[in-house]
Symmetry: D2
Subunit: 332 residues, 4 copies
């Protein structure tokens, strides 16, 4: 049950209501002028109590704060250079890994020219094998920050553990939580305690409910600047595509939750020639942004060589994606 | 190896080549002026032999006739009222089942008005349980045919077994092979022996290679009028969508094969409010047509009640899908 | 609702009950002294009606005749050489395909010696590509029958289409329905009209409910001699095993249904060295029989070369499987 | 390439070899008397160099230290009360969560009596929703340790983040890494730096290769006391079982790696009546231990109520599992 109180709140009566719920052993969460009571969908309020209540939603999903029942309007996340969500369309792009100073400066200028307003790049890389390239670490973060500032871009980069949250927070504008860490609950809580935007990738085999509950770990710590990133799920056929982009999940998440939905078609596709059609599909299904890997010499990349676009390919992708987004907007 | 002979073919020399291949125990398939030799990617031709050869593709997939290596240009299927494939965009729509005469006539007019040029409707229905409604049979076919003729529409309907091919062929313009029958090889051969177009749905857990090999069963019998229908694959999360529409597979199939690609977003979605965004996604990924379930009173439908659109919803979907298709075409 | 009438049945009162149900538009199926009424779980019977009723099950699954609610005791299928189901343990073995007369005679003797009482062998083979070896057809059936008779074995072989049911029925003791045909409903009905045992393989991505509903298609036509064959499901990792043997499904199917459960670990494993441990797992989970591919020169087999056991490997497997089965029996 | 040097090692020549590899830019890892060189499968050694080499494996998987190519014999992990691996069979059991002091003491005695030698119990619980019971924390660890000591049992409990490694290490004998954290690489490295045994659960959608590479993160930090826990993978049908126990993966992992394989059939089954048959299947496939949830009042459990066994059910399971293990051992 979600109780929305009239504003300004009558704190005397609201406190009485809270007291009563506690006595009845109902677990409640107060957020602004909303009170969520779990496992309760009816209550006989007195006339005095009812007088301070604006609206009641009888049922709500477990991820109450993340749901449209709690907040019907779209969350719009403001950063230095972007408004993300709502009718906005945000392009985030850059290399899989920050490989050296020169390359990230060059790529920052190129993705900016093509229409990106956020630069991506991995400094701490999650790799299947301990013997694979693990990223440049803090040095990479510094290059990324400088390249972004030089080009008036926001930075998005992955944080892989609680200990790195503070350090990475000094360099990035947006934390990325990777697919493998979608249910690393301590990490979710840690970024939930910051006030920086968080892009939460869906796990390879995570249900939509698990994804939204993971978001709830962040918002329940006080940070409501969450973006949901669909990046493909694992299925039985990976002969031609690395993963299956779940376009239905984009439409569903947009309906159930107020958070912006971003599509990472690079990881879904796994092959450069499929990144564009899968990006278009994601946008047509309702995504409000794209996260695309771009490298000027993909074949020499230290990671994800097969799936990175050249700046020229990326420029074409952005133009088409924007036109599809414009159509989608009109027809909602 | 695919050998393309110069036209007009020099039959004397070609026959010599065929004879030689047979002697070498190479399995070959002749199709027009092409010769496919499996499991062979090099051969030392004499100058005399080489003089009649236009072009050689060293390797080819097992589904040789279905592949772009055999036929680089798009297959375009012509029916009484449609050209399907290439830059054309074809809308097929109608109820899940033909329930009675009146409803199919009414719906035929409505989907025609919205832009459909093919009417769908099940007369023989594949149902999980033997106790569920199995369709009206031949009576349903007759209603469907009359409704189509009255509205200048082509008919598409499902054929479930070899014995029904002839009867259903008397009423339909396009055979539909359902997902459950994608590897019913005798049925594939049977429709391959007709000259009617066949819409081959991808199985729930079929790989792209299996799908194209199933198409090869049809074309290897002589019928090259095949459409590939992506209708969603089975995955681990069916809480909100019935299946996962595999937009990557649309782009892949279009690259590997010359057949038209159609999207059935009704079965992928399973819920009416998701049919449109999933259709848009499919078109944005490159689909050349849509197959959509429409019913004027979805909640009273005898099958698939949850996923059928009203004519009003369908009209809106068609308008948006056409605009996305127009964009896609320009940017290929 | 399943109504079990007292025997001998009082046909006058039972007919009255049937009449009443029809008037109430309740869909009913009569089977021996049981009446199944779908979509009804309560009815106010008069004292007269109640007097002829032995027992009522309020709810039942859609696959009523296949369920333990309808028949609590195990189905035991009797053939010339076997009792299949219950506490019996049945070994079925032989080559993937019948390749020639000599090999099938030799293998029949070898699998018999190792403990098999049913010989398997494909004469009509379902193959992914139309260009792969499709089996010897009727000639293969004849060899198989003769080899079986010579060694006092039953025959199991696959039937792929309605037209072949009669011919194959002349040669085989048990029809096998392959995984790809699990929902070929016309084929299920056709074997349901015979009185020969049917081994129904679970589809690659079929749910347990779909599997049992497929069995219901057979039993609802009058043939209750159904075996359920678990042969592995398709999943995301096929690097080392062809499929995932679903041992949980074995335990579940045995609980929900009265039919014998057979494990085909050859197709689940896909590699000879994994066939035995996966067979043991299936037996430990409760399977009442095994279906194993055996070939004396696996590497030269015309199909499924990688997964066939040599007679020596098979002999060892049978010994161990029998010991595990003996344990399982005692501890049920 | 894995180079095994003769012992005692001739350090002068070995150092020369190392120096040479470095000059050739080959990435090498030295472990005892083995040297692994990645991405190199042939090298022309001089006679002097060859004289100190015992054996060379030309190729090895990326998870070299975890593979049987590096160490052919089984790893046996010794703890205060157990030898885990090899021909030993180890039963680990206890409640999903430590709920209070009294219950864990009672259950420790009960699982000990039934044959368990390790007690499990969650103190820090990974939960899908932030609003679900998150465990008693350190208080729970203390109860668990005391209950184990009182009954001469080892303790296994889950560690969810790097920060908790030290604290939990003070109480537990074995670290458990949960399925959701299988690729939490910082956590893997952290437990790899301790010298306590680690039970690594396979992720819900992790391939066998990813699982073994995750183990490599632990062993490459110096800790070779790794157990691999198969606990079921996510698939398309969760109507009756929570997950699919991948018995093939048990056999495969045992072949590829020298680590002990443990089966957690409680999480695979998700329903108490399926825990035993799935455990038997796992043991029959070659598992060297079981991890089972036991609770004396399952229906009142604070987590995983549906899948916990009563002590009586557990006692029966242990007896049967031991008999199957005894058989398996004889027939390897």
């Amino acid at each position: 049950m979600i109780i929305q109180f009239k504003t300004p709140m009558n704190h005397v009566i609201v406190d009485d209501i809270l007291e009563q719920m506690k006595k009845g052993h109902h677990h409640g969460v107060m957020s602004d002028n909303h009170l969520i009571i779990y496992d309760l969908d009816h209550f006989d309020f007195t006339d005095r109590e009812a007088s301070v209540i604006e609206h009641i939603e009888a049922t709500q999903p477990r991820y109450a704060l993340s749901s449209r029942k709690f907040q019907p309007e779209d969350t719009i996340i403001e950063t230095a250079h972007n408004k993300i969500g709502g009718d906005n369309f945000t392009i985030m792009a850059g290399p899989c890994s920050v490989e050296n100073e020169e390359m990230i400066h060059r790529l920052a200028a190129e993705v900016k020219a093509a229409g990106a307003t956020v630069i991506r790049g991995g400094a701490f890389k999650p790799r299947t094998s301990p013997y694979d390239f693990q990223g440049l670490g803090v040095e990479g973060l510094r290059y990324l920050r400088e390249a972004a500032d030089e080009n008036d871009l926001d930075v998005i980069t992955e944080v892989m553990s609680v200990e790195e949250v503070e350090t990475i927070g000094e360099y990035t504008d947006i934390f990325q939580i990777g697919a493998r860490n979608m249910q690393n609950f301590d990490l979710l809580k840690a970024v939930g305690k910051t006030n920086k935007p968080v892009a939460l990738k869906r796990g390879l085999a995570a249900t939509i409910d698990e994804w939204l509950n993971a978001a709830e770990y962040i918002i329940s710590e006080g940070n409501s600047k969450v973006m949901l990133v669909e990046r493909g799920i694992r299925s039985f056929d990976s002969t031609y595509t690395r993963n299956i982009l779940d376009v239905g999940a984009i439409a569903v998440a947009k309906k159930l939750s107020h958070f912006p939905i971003i599509v990472d078609s690079s990881h879904a596709a796994g092959h450069a020639d499929l990144v564009a059609p899968m990006a278009y599909a994601g946008v047509a299904a309702g995504a409000q942004g794209l996260l695309i890997e771009v490298h000027d010499h993909p074949s020499q990349a230290l990671s994800d060589a097969a799936q990175q676009l050249t700046p020229a390919q990326f420029t074409k992708l952005v133009a088409q994606a924007k036109q599809i987004h414009a159509l989608t907007e009109n027809h909602d």
